[in-house]
Every structure is written in C-alpha cells, then in structure tokens.
C-alpha cells in the first residue's frame, strides 16, 4: 500500500537516514499499520468538529517577562561539539 519511493520520501522529510533493506522493512510495517487503520474510513464524520485539544481551553497566556535561566553552564555542557562556549555545527550556508 505504501511504496518504497514514498518511504524514501518520508524518510527524507523526517530526516532519518535509511538503507535499501530498511526501506523495504518500513514499507511492509507501515503498510500493515495503515491497513489496520483503514477501518476509520467507515465512520460517518459528517458535521463533526475535530478535537485537537481535549480540555477545550483556549488562549492561555503568560507575561512576556525576561528571566535569566539559572543553569546556562548545564546547557552549554550538552553541546555535542563546542568552541568558546558556542555550539559548533556544520556550515549552513
């Protein structure tokens, strides 16, 4: 149901590297789950509003107040590669 080409496309969107064997396995696994989910098509959803949020709360805001984060060193220590306290990444441009 889901083709290998579609799997490669999705893997690209999801930024997950895959080899040919994995593409085949995903095609099989995802097709199986998508088949199973097919039964949702039989439900009559005419006029039904989608529920994205179960509590129905809306527009919860808080003040845009500047606060210093107390553990900046903890965050910097987590950078996989760093230089002079900056996060070192491959060139973007």
């Amino acid at each position: 149901m889901i083709t290998k080409e579609e799997v490669r496309h999705i893997a690209g969107l999801a930024r997950i590297g895959v080899d040919e064997k994995e593409v085949e396995k995903f095609a099989a696994d995802l097709s199986a789950v998508l088949d199973w989910i097919e039964e949702l098509k039989e439900v009559d959803v005419t006029g039904v509003e989608p529920t994205a949020h179960i509590t129905g709360m809306e527009n919860i805001t808080k003040g845009d107040i500047e606060k210093d984060f107390s553990n900046k060193e903890g965050i910097v220590k987590l950078f996989p590669e760093s230089k002079d306290g900056y996060d070192k990444v491959k060139s973007i441009l």
């Binding site: 199973w36 989910i37 959803v45 529920t51 808080k62 996989p80 441009l93």
Partner: protein
C-alpha cells in the same frame, strides 16, 4: 504503605537515612535480575534523607512523603541527572533543569533512588523496547513487566521503591501496574504539569503515580498535581489532599460496565473481572450497562494521532544542541539532494543511528499521515472520530459516575511473545487507550489473580472517572482494596 513509613519516621523507629539505605541494599540485591533502574542516585538520595533526619531531630513536622524513597521514570528530568528516555540518542544527556513534578516532590522532601527503565521514548507495552535492555516482571522473571513504565512498576512491585512516577500516553502507567500487581493512576489530562517530561504525544501524555496502595497514589497525586505556568495545557486547579476522599464508601455510586468489552477475553480474565463487579455490588454500588459505540475505533484513532504528535515532538533530536551527534558519514538514499549535505548528514545519521526501530516506525507513520495529501484522510479524520468517542463518554457519564473495565486483556505475557508483529503489541492497550483519547482520569488496581500455565499472575481492573473527578476513582478503588483485604505482598 507511605503512611506506615511516615509514622515510623516520626516515632523514631527508623531514620530516613536507614530507610534509604535499606532500599539501596535491596536494589543491589535484586536489580541485577529485575533491571528496573537505569541510573542510581545514591549520593543525592542520602543527602535528601539526611536533610529530613535533621528536620525530625529539630522537632519539626514533616510531610507525608518526606524521606520516603521513590523511583522516577527516565523520561522525567531531574536537574544534574542523566535522562535518557531509554534511548541511545540521549545516552549522554544530563537534564539541565527539574521537571515541575520533581520541583514539587523536592519541596515535599521526597527521596529519589534513581531513574527507572522504560520502553524507548515511552513507545511500547512491555519495556522490551528499552535501548538498554528489558526489565523483568518481579512475579515471573520470564515475563514482561508491561510498558512503557515497566521499570517504575517493577521497582514498586519488588520493593525496590516505595512509590514511583510513570507517564501514560496510551496506558503506560496502568498496563504495567496491572502486570506487576500494583496501583497505577493516570490523572485527567491537564491535572499534572507535563513541563520537564520528555514529550511523546502532547495531547495525550500525563505523568502519574505507581504505588503499592490507592492511598499512596492519592498522596503522590496530591503533591504532583496543580496549575503550572510552564505548561499551557495544565488546567486551572488548586492543590487538593486526595486522601480526604478515601472514605471506604461506595454505596449509591453508579458504575458502568461497557457492553461488548468482555467478549474475546479468556475465561480466567473474565472470572477475575466478574469477581470485582460482584464485590462492588456487595459494597452497595449500582452496576449498569453502558455503551461506547465508537470506542472500538480508539486504537486506530490513537495510532494516527500519537505518531503524528510523536513525529513533531521527536524532531528536536537532531544532534545539534544536545544528545548524540553522529559524526561518521554514511551513504543514504534520498529522493532529493539537499543544498548542504553536511548539515543534513548530521540529521540523517544521528537519527538513523540514535533512534531504535520503534521510534523510527512511529515518526515515519506520523510524517506520512501529516504530509500533504494525507492530512485530511488521516489526522483530521482521527481527530473527528476522537470527538465522537468523547461524546460517547459524555453520554455514558450522564448515566454513571464511573466506568469499570479490565485494565488489560491478558496478564503479563512472556518475553518475545508480542514482538514479531507490532500490531499484536498495540492490541494490548485496547482498554487503556480510550482514557487518553478523551482525557479522563483512570486507575488500575490489582484484582483477583489469574492462573496461566500453572502460575498465578496479577491482573488489574480499571476505573475511569469523569474529567477532573480523581476523587471518585480513588474512593472506589480504595473501597475495593480495603474490603477485599488486598494487602501488598511483602
């Protein structure tokens, strides 16, 4: 159990340090077989315990959970402590801040023994999908403890912790509680702050307690719940002492049994459940049949909504700011050539080698269901069916106060039994999933044991309550517990 230990502390029968040391000794003895813990926190635990002892020595009053040692599921952040969500992609991640529930527990003086094992990124129903190896069920080491909070449930069941925190997105607190013979509570969505919990599916996730008794669950819930500025989805609610509602009375309470739910269950599981129903009748509750006609779509609804939200929530694990970063270049097949392969390689390889197969499967499923051309057919449709299921519950709760179901269709299965076909594993969540979809609170309580292959295994039953009505599910659960003389196995 918490109350007894609390009394021992204030009566000077034991010190908090002795209590903590006792638990670490038991962990040292048992955990090589059970593997409930990924990270132990001996140094900080003893520090926490010493502070409590100092308070007691100074004649100060201490709270119910003060000095009482517990386990924290490894997807909840404790500042300065490793948090992996059982994934290699976070193998070296040291949480830079406390989750709000951790802040609350620290203020309450609780002691943290360590971080508990789980299925990777909370995806699973057996803890077999942990990136570090499975936890074993203390009742039978050849069987799974359930998941994804398998480590938390096993720790409590084997007395390697007095209480534990788990998270529940599709049943991940209740199902392992059922398999391990302990109590597990998923609060109403919005009751407990999710800030500091590594997100799986943001419209479904909740943090909740796993404990030996219902009273213990009420004690922990009282501490971790409440409105939090850091979680915009946390509901306006004030701190409550849930133990006040444990009256032992259920006379007049209306309990619904769902039509059709017991079909296809084994005779053993059915009998266990029917004994629970009978007990509630004896206690004076009114038992009625209710219908949830759209509940049968809960599993497919969940297996669309959840992967979609997962694909968004796990996008942050890209090797850039924290966690694993894959530094070797390997060829991958893409249907487009990105402008700068080097940065893309970072993403592709980090996520390829850092994630296990189940997170990848769910991310792919979610990405597909949300992609252009498919969004209406899958995600939007699932959210509409979600509305229909919610309406079923609203109708049922106009007729009854609580809904009673088995927690799981079977007791704990053996390792490897469900891993060949992912859908077989997904079906384990059939009774628990609906509470996450509609957001209601639900508790799993140990019921009469079930015999499988000559072995007696725990089997839980589940009570679902109205939105924000944890009081009634706790009350009814507690009433069963004390009347059935169920005392925790020591």
């Amino acid at each position: 159990m918490i109350r007894e230990l609390h009394n021992k502390l204030i009566n000077h029968e034991i010190t908090a340090v002795q209590l903590t040391e006792e638990y670490f000794a038991r962990i040292e003895n048992l955990d090589k077989d059970i593997f409930a813990y990924l990270t132990l926190m001996e140094k900080s635990a003893l520090e926490q315990a010493r502070k409590v002892d100092a308070k007691i020595a100074a004649g100060e009053e201490i709270g119910m959970l003060e000095g009482i040692p517990g386990a924290i599921k490894d997807n909840i952040c404790i500042k300065g402590v490793r948090a992996t969500a059982s994934s290699k992609i976070l193998d070296n991640y040291i949480a830079p801040y406390d989750a709000t529930v951790i802040k609350n527990l620290k203020e309450a003086g609780a002691v943290f023994l360590g971080k508990a094992n789980m299925d990777e990124f909370a995806m699973g129903s057996s803890t077999e999908k942990s990136g570090y190896g499975p936890t074993k069920n203390p009742h039978d080491l050849s069987r799974v403890p359930g998941g994804s909070s398998g480590g938390s449930a096993a720790a409590v069941a084997s007395n390697e912790a007095v209480w534990a925190l788990g998270t529940d997105t599709g049943g991940s607190i209740r199902q392992p509680a059922s398999f391990c013979g302990v109590v597990g509570l998923k609060p109403t969505y919005g009751r407990v702050s999710r800030s500091g919990a590594i997100a799986m599916a943001s419209s479904l996730d909740q943090i909740g307690p796993i404990t030996k008794t219902v009273e213990d669950a009420a004690i922990v819930l009282s501490i971790i719940s409440g409105r939090d500025n850091l979680d915009a989805t946390s509901a306006k609610s004030f701190a409550k002492d849930y133990t006040e509602y444990l009256t032992g009375e259920v006379a007049g309470l209306k309990i619904g049994i769902v039509k059709g739910y017991l079909d296809n269950l084994s005779v053993e599981v059915k009998n266990s459940f029917e004994k629970v129903v009978e007990k509630y009748r004896e206690l004076g509750a009114e038992i009625k049949e209710v219908e949830l006609p759209n509940a049968k779509y809960s599993l497919p609804v969940y297996y669309i909504i959840m992967p979609c939200e997962v694909s968004s929530n796990l996008a942050r694990f890209d090797g850039i700011k924290y966690g694993m970063r894959a530094l070797d270049y390997k060829d991958t097949e893409l249907d487009f050539i990105p402008e700068d392969r080097n940065l893309i390689e970072t993403y592709l390889d980090t996520r390829r080698y850092g994630f296990g197969p189940e997170p990848k499967r769910r991310i792919m499923l979610g990405t597909y269901a949300l992609s252009s051309g498919y969004y209406e057919a899958y995600y939007l449709r699932a959210q509409k069916v979600r509305t229909l299921i919610k309406q079923d519950f609203e109708k049922a709760f106009s007729e009854v106060d609580l809904i009673l179901t088995p927690t799981t269709p079977t007791p704990a299965f053996k390792f490897g039994e469900k891993t060949k076909d992912p859908i077989q594993m997904y079906l384990e969540d059939v009774f628990t999933i609906t509470a996450n979809i509609v957001g209601v609170p639900a508790i799993s309580v140990p019921g009469p044991e079930v015999e499988v292959d000559g072995k007696k295994l725990p089997q839980g039953f589940q009570l679902m309550g109205k939105w924000f009505d944890e009081e009634n599910i706790l009350r009814a659960a507690h009433a069963y517990e004390i009347s059935s003389g169920a005392t925790p196995v020591k």
